[in-house]
Subunit: 247 residues, 6 copies
């Protein structure tokens, strides 16, 4: 099964820039563009040391139902990798993409476990995000792949979830995610950057972080926030001079 | 836009029978067939006096996002009925069908209001179910159409919801709903009857209700439940005789 | 199975008095005696028109587990009334008692349904309270027995609950209930009156209601609450005169 | 204690118009003015038959703490009406005002009971709104005053709440309420109309309801929503003609 | 007070094997045996580095009530260790057992603190599990005993909890726990292994982990999951050869 | 804007003692004085290694509303530090004080971020507590200032919160906080010590910790809790001797 990507790819440099910008800065930049709530509520990193940026490849779960998975199981009872959509998604996610799983916020069973995470990493994906849970979470923390979830749970996915769709618009952590959106993660969590905003947000976010580093240093050095954060003309001039001086 | 129905229609007599059986009885019949949880949790009738049975026609909401609805609005800012999927769904639901809306359990805004409910009724639908809310709920209670929701809320849908898909498998009240499933509602709430089970559940549910009416009368008359509920051979014989006697 | 009652019975006159006092008044009387929170949170009447007072007979559910009920089922799969504790409890509750069910606040399945409710009524019980749900709730509302629950749900109890104990101390609606406590219910909900407080609370509650009826009339007639609610010496004197005058 | 009102009063005619407009219509009108979420989530009417409109007079509770109320109690343990702010608020609310109570959404104890409700009505207030609970709720339902709450609970307020402030900006049902805002309630719940928007919302809401009544009749008569809801030029012309014809 | 153990002890080798198997593997093995949900939801390790396996010794809390603890306190107000069941349980838990506390998921006060944890460790217990909270949690993390909870809270247990029963069936984290069940914990959380399943689950879990280690290595090395996870005949043959080769 | 402090300052020695006592001990001492629940539920340290004690300086948020912040923004859209109360609070908190933010438990946006935290530290504050969230939480963890919150969230405060008041009584984590109360935090969380209790709680808490260290050592060495915890006369004598011996 070949899953089409109906969106423009984002340049690697842009992804690199976004990966270097904090989710807090992204939130500010997106708010300037009119987006108020693109943070995935309650979805936290298993590995806070790893940053992530990649375009969304989505998987949509609906609640498990006794009749739904029958045709997707083999005689042994195990999943048929060629029919079950969770498995198809794992074998379809592309290099540099972030798999985003809509688990309806339900952590009563896992969305997936360490063997599938290892496979997703082997395929070159940039990370995995679920608003459900991972199983084998201690083992997953050993894998150098950014992963984000609302919880951990050893129960197998199909006790609670049924994989219904691949690469459709989904809900994750209370936010709409459209295939192709840029998904950025850091120690604070995960932000959705709508595809059309990626380039300008990367550029302006980068500049914002430079300016705030300057402001932060002034504040640590004892400056009041008045006139400094937000900066007035004088502080901005100081900042410009500082930028010049650093080349 | 024409929405295909990829499922076998259920005969009107079967729907009539299902409409006459309580959700409690359906739950028991479905449990016998291996289905443990097909009740939509927390979804209650606006009109407990109306019973409902019809095949599911689904609408899937995802969270609203500032960029998603732009192309679906007219210059006035109002929805374009030809582009917005909530509106397309309203103009596509068929006679005898139940519109089932996946609102992710979110009642912070309505799924729809009284004018759309009136249109759905005018199209001959059998009812509407959302795990979100209705607006204009006092006016909707005046309409003789079975409606079920988790709450009431005057806020317009697009402040919280974006209509992403029509007639795909959805989650509603924590239960998977597949287009074509039979959706049955009474004063206790809503049960999903998987399409393939509809006929046998209707038939056996009908018989169960007759038998339990007999048992209920015995219990009210002072019988212990021992030997009666569940019935032993003697009680069953009594029941068969009672059935014969009533023709 | 005979279930011992290790507590002193409450006189019928006391129960009648308690049944005539509102849960709001009982809450005030119990607070005076040092009890701050004896209201069953979220447990509401199916029949707000019926008042209830009776001593607690308890049933404790724990979560269902696939192995627990095996020995309590008959070949047919139905409950064995002689082994299953939910059924034993139904056949053991006494005249004038209130069955209190600890369902851990879980409404994903029923605690019991209309046939068992009818049997409990036939045995002369004073009412039923669960912090779970009833099934067949529309039918139960037709029965003239006070019933109280946190929800309604057609699913059969054993999909979620297993009856573990009869007449032990339990939790219901976040409150400890000890067998023999007096359980009082009205349209506002359910209060637990610890056994040892029953008589004095009945007497003082009765007097409080009379006094507050007097105060209420004054307030409706335009009196400020200052000096009236709570009453000062003058208001109390007026009240005493009013009481005298009415014999 | 005299509580200042630092806001412009709303004309009685405007309040009358707002009382005649549904909360659903108000929500639409406020959205046009940029306000997305002014509905008090989860706050429902005790008397769905009564409509309400009045300017907000607020009371702010914080959590009870063992030391806070000491100075506000009399020797008897009862509240001192001259010191306790709940009581002062009751004796300060003005004719035509709506008392809005910030109870932090906490329904574990009441915000107030029937005697204070009666006093508030006697003072001529337009209604009472709490995001907590009422006690004596069955008795309150007998009073012809619009009241709205998240729950019912016989427990006395000070077991959970301490009245900290009168007529300051508060949170109620997740919405900011500023003294002087117009609070409108109907069977669907409660909307906050910011003071500055009251007049234009009343006028435009009234017109919206007339237009939607026209549209509703067309839809009931079988019209598609396409071209009708929202109305196109032709439908608008029809509407204008209909308005003319009715004078 | 001597607490009887009405169950067969599990052999130390079996406990050792279970302690070496992940909760994820146990969940899979239990699912094969028909148990879908035996993971304690939301109960997490204070010390993720410690694994635990032991038979359940249970303690059941109900909500605190002002009259219940009176007889269990000494003149000083402190608990009487000979009467209070929390204290009796601490002095009764056996070597190798896991104390499992049913705290109704309530973390508003602790289930116990560091001195009692130290005593339980001194008695040789294998660990402690509560679906409530620990107090002195920083100090408990210093103790080399596996402990698991839903939260941390310095408040003393009896402000919220009353110890009602020892070694009865309980609910913990939404799962039924029967005295004698094997309770296994690792960094992912806690699984209940019903007593009768312990031996076969230990044996098959051990084999499953070996096979999955083989599969994991193949996937890390670049293998698709198709044919590998689940393994087809060829992969199984490879695995058998690999096992042989390693003796 | 100068914010008055209407409370007696606590001596530095007392604050130092309180900072050295665990929240668990404080909870016990406060319970002896009649305070049952002064722990901020769900509010956890970002830096469990840092202890905190200081008098409360409060900031009260209410829900954001589209019209409220208009006058507090500059032409650029940024906050005006001289008008916005969050910013005024940051520039008003005093040396040794703890800023306590009432965020209504809402973590959907931050209460503040790292630049403001740095400024608060530069002003000499003792710490920051919110029952909402921090943004830039990874950067805040780098700052040597005790900070406590219910969550982390990159979204800017004014998307959800509006700063309404400074240094008034507030609710935080479900507990009343009065300006001047001593706020103590450690790895377990945050306790409120009412101003009037600070000195005696510090003194008795210190002694309690010494005694419990002695008891703890006995228990670790194998003593039963009977006679030891709580200590009987013999154990107390032993303790007194131990104290003497250590000078």
């Amino acid at each position: 099964m070949s899953i089409p990507r109906n969106f423009a790819p984002v340049a690697p440099e842009t992804l690199t820039m976004l990966k270097g910008v904090s989710t807090a800065t992204l939130s500010a930049q997106l708010l300037k563009r009119g987006y108020a709530q693109l943070y995935l509520q309650g979805v936290l990193p298993l590995r806070p040391d790893l940053h992530m940026a990649g375009q969304a490849f989505t998987l949509r779960f609906i609640p498990a139902r006794e009749d739904l998975a029958r045709d997707e199981q083999m005689a042994s009872g195990d999943f048929n990798n060629l029919k079950n959509k969770q498995r198809i998604a794992v074998e379809s996610v592309g290099a540099g993409e972030v798999m985003v799983i809509d688990a309806r916020g339900d952590t009563r069973a896992a969305s997936l476990g360490n063997i599938l995470v290892a496979r997703i990493k082997a395929r070159g994906a940039a990370g995995i995000v679920t608003d459900g849970a991972f199983r084998d979470s201690p083992a997953i923390k050993e894998i150098d792949l950014p992963t984000f979830a609302r919880g951990q749970n050893p129960n197998i996915s199909f006790t609670v979830h049924y994989a219904a769709d691949i690469n459709v618009p989904v809900s994750c952590g209370g936010v709409a995610v459209i295939p192709g959106d840029v998904i950025v993660g850091d120690a604070e969590g995960v932000m959705v950057v709508p595809r059309a905003e990626a380039e300008s947000v990367a550029r302006d976010g980068w500049e914002q972080e430079r300016k705030e580093a300057f402001i932060y240093d002034k504040v640590v050095a004892g400056a009041s926030i008045v006139g400094v954060y937000p900066p007035n003309a004088e502080t901005l001039a100081e900042y410009e001079a500082w930028k010049q001086s650093r080349g």
